[in-house]
Subunit: 110 residues, 2 copies
DNA sequence: AATATTTATCGTAATATTGCAATCTAAATA
DNA sequence: TATTTAGATTGCAATATTACGATAAATATT
């Protein structure tokens, strides 16, 4: 065994897990924050921002892209990566929803 | 290598990554949603809710607990697990913040 | 006390992730 | 055209995760 049994869970659960998993590494959180920080997203120098080798950063970018958190456009020699707002919105509304429900419930235990 | 280089990132980045990583598996998302659904948190039968064996569920619960997403109180023979609102609040405000900033910026590329 | 119930832990196999050196590709420039 | 530059891909070693059977620990019930 060892492989996640995705087929047993709902699409929504898998979708949230995929997004969360992509952010489950500090380098990828750092990449997202860097993409937030720079105004334009000429994002060639993410490598210089991170304490990781170029292939490693490239791999992290690929995972963020696969998860749908960022999108990238080829621009001549370089690639312009930027945050896909839709993914952030999904996460934001998911947690806001939980937060609201928890507030109403006012946990009567633990 | 293969071990995450946590020491190179900020505490906040690592904190978000830890929470996100814990939610990076559909079973753990499902557990959180189940804990939301049940009013009281007599949580003995999470195993029956999930298509996973008891030791696997126990392990997932442990990870959620280590990440600070849930807390558990021993209660006689059973354990009462429930969501730790503080963790949800952290995630909620983190994504809300990003969402707001993105809205202001109105992405001028990609 | 003996048995059942609930949850945790151990051990282990299968698989996935992390990280990087080396290499490749394609556009940019000399 | 040769060279540089930006980024992806390959291959591999180290480590982590996922899953579960077997078993342990501790309370509950008979």
């Amino acid at each position: 065994m060892g492989a996640t049994k995705t087929e047993h869970f709902t699409d929504k659960q898998n979708a949230i897990a995929t997004l969360a998993k992509a952010l489950g590494h500090p380098a990828r959180v750092a990449i997202m924050e860097y993409l937030m920080k720079v105004d334009t997203c000429i994002c060639g120098d993410i490598v210089n921002e991170l304490p990781l080798a170029q292939p490693t950063v490239s791999q992290h970018l690929k995972e963020l892209k696969n998860a749908g958190l960022i999108k990238g456009d080829i621009e001549g020699n370089t690639i312009c990566y930027c945050i896909d707002e839709r993914a952030i919105d999904k996460l934001q509304s998911y947690f806001a929803n939980i937060s609201t429900k928890l507030e109403k419930k006012k946990s009567n235990c633990c």
